[in-house]
């Protein structure tokens, strides 16, 4: 059985924000414009959270990339009245756009605030729409969306593996954020496979998870920084 997971090394991450743009490019995420962004409607499936610690001149900055944690016990799932979000056998917290009627309850119940709502339908003025990824649907107004662990890439790789009649190799699947990360701070893989890189990381002492106290069983593991 596979359980997709991700490891983020906060000591490698420099907050360069390459992953954020990569995510936009891969997942056809709309840009909402200044006015809407001012209302708090900007969409970044992955974001770099910045925290200050201490006072000048001994002040430190901490960066922490946060995307959907693909919780094992996701609070967002049961509250949806129409099964628009549910748990796949591979441990993904799937979002079915076609089913979503936009109660926005899931977003309310997400302790990580990583769900984003399409308040208006997206606008890709010509010829920007030529860039859109054909593997990912464009979401219209009234639909909730969030990080999918680049499920289209997962399925692509699984198809290839199936054609070649083999298992998916560790490291064969790379999410958009992890692939573009200059610091290689993001690693994606199968947490149920003890040989995989993510599993190795997960066993280290630096490993931790966000808001562990809520026992949401996130699939994203953070390697604590050393600064």
């Amino acid at each position: 059985m596979t359980r997709w997971g991700m490891v983020i090394d906060t000591d490698r991450c420099t907050g360069c924000a390459a992953c954020m743009v990569a995510c936009h490019a891969e997942n056809n995420i709309q840009t909402v414009g200044e006015v809407e962004a001012g209302k708090g409607r900007a969409m970044h499936w992955i974001r770099i959270e910045r925290y200050y610690e201490g006072e000048f001149p001994d002040i430190k900055v901490r960066f922490q990339p946060v995307m959907c944690q693909q919780c094992g016990h996701a609070p967002c799932e049961p509250v949806c009245p129409v099964y628009a979000t549910y748990h796949t056998p591979e441990g993904l917290n799937a979002m079915v756009y076609a089913r979503c009627i936009g109660t926005r309850y899931c977003a309310n119940n997400c302790p990580y605030t990583v769900r984003f709502f399409n308040w208006f339908s997206p606008d890709f003025p010509q010829p920007l729409e030529r860039q859109l990824n054909p593997d990912v649907s464009v979401r219209s107004a009234g639909i909730m969306e969030k990080c999918t662990f680049c499920v289209q890439r997962i399925q692509g790789a699984q198809d290839v593996a199936k054609d070649e009649d083999r298992e998916v190799r560790d490291g064969e699947i790379r999410t958009a954020c992890s692939q573009s990360c200059p610091a290689e701070a993001i690693v994606f893989g199968d947490l149920d496979d003890p040989e995989s890189r993510v599993s190795e990381f997960a066993e280290q002492a630096r490993a931790t998870r966000l808001l562990e106290e809520l026992s949401t069983e996130p699939s994203v593991i953070y390697m604590r920084g050393g600064r």
Partner: protein, 166 residues
């Protein structure tokens, strides 16, 4: 071909007298219809006019049916298309319980109303509003109508009602 004699009374107690006289004159309760615009206190009437209702039992039946119905709907519909969410069981008893409760309630409510209508013989849209004295009902009078045979004891009945009237 039968005749009907109607009388309107102001006070229920006069009605009682009238009924007693009618009885003495051998009218069966089936021949006598009493109508009022507000519930009459039952001790006004002699035993044979007493009535009864199956209400509470019907309500309980409805409750049982409703609860069972919704529970099975939930249980079945979640298992024909099983989608795990938040690590909960496919048929989660606590959440199903809430729905079942509402099922019990709605079942009871509908069954109660159905029973009321059935026992009152409603809706009987066109049967009503035929009597000549109906408007007296609006004035809080009590109407008593007696059905009696061809030709026969009409005047008896009338007299009985008359005497009661004074």
């Amino acid at each position: 071909m039968s005749k009907r004699t109607h009388a309107a009374f102001v006070s229920p107690y006069d009605v009682r007298e009238a009924l007693e006289r009618l009885e003495q004159d051998g009218f069966s309760t089936g021949d006598v219809e009493i109508r009022s615009s507000a519930p009459l206190d039952h001790d006004v009437f002699p035993e044979r006019h007493a009535v009864h209702s199956r209400m509470p039992w019907m309500a309980l039946t409805g409750a049982a049916l409703g609860g069972l119905g919704l529970f099975s709907l939930v249980a079945w519909s979640s298992s024909v298309y099983p989608l795990p969410t938040g690590g909960m069981p496919i048929v989660a008893i606590p959440t199903t319980g809430v729905i079942t409760f509402e099922g019990i309630a709605i079942g009871a409510i509908l069954c109660t109303v159905a029973t009321v209508l059935y026992e009152c013989g409603l809706p009987g849209l066109w049967s009503a509003g035929t009597g000549p004295l109906d408007h007296h009902l609006a004035d809080d009078h009590v109407l008593v109508s007696v059905t009696c045979d061809e030709g026969a004891s009409t005047e008896w009945a009338a007299k009985a009602l008359e005497t009661a009237r004074e």
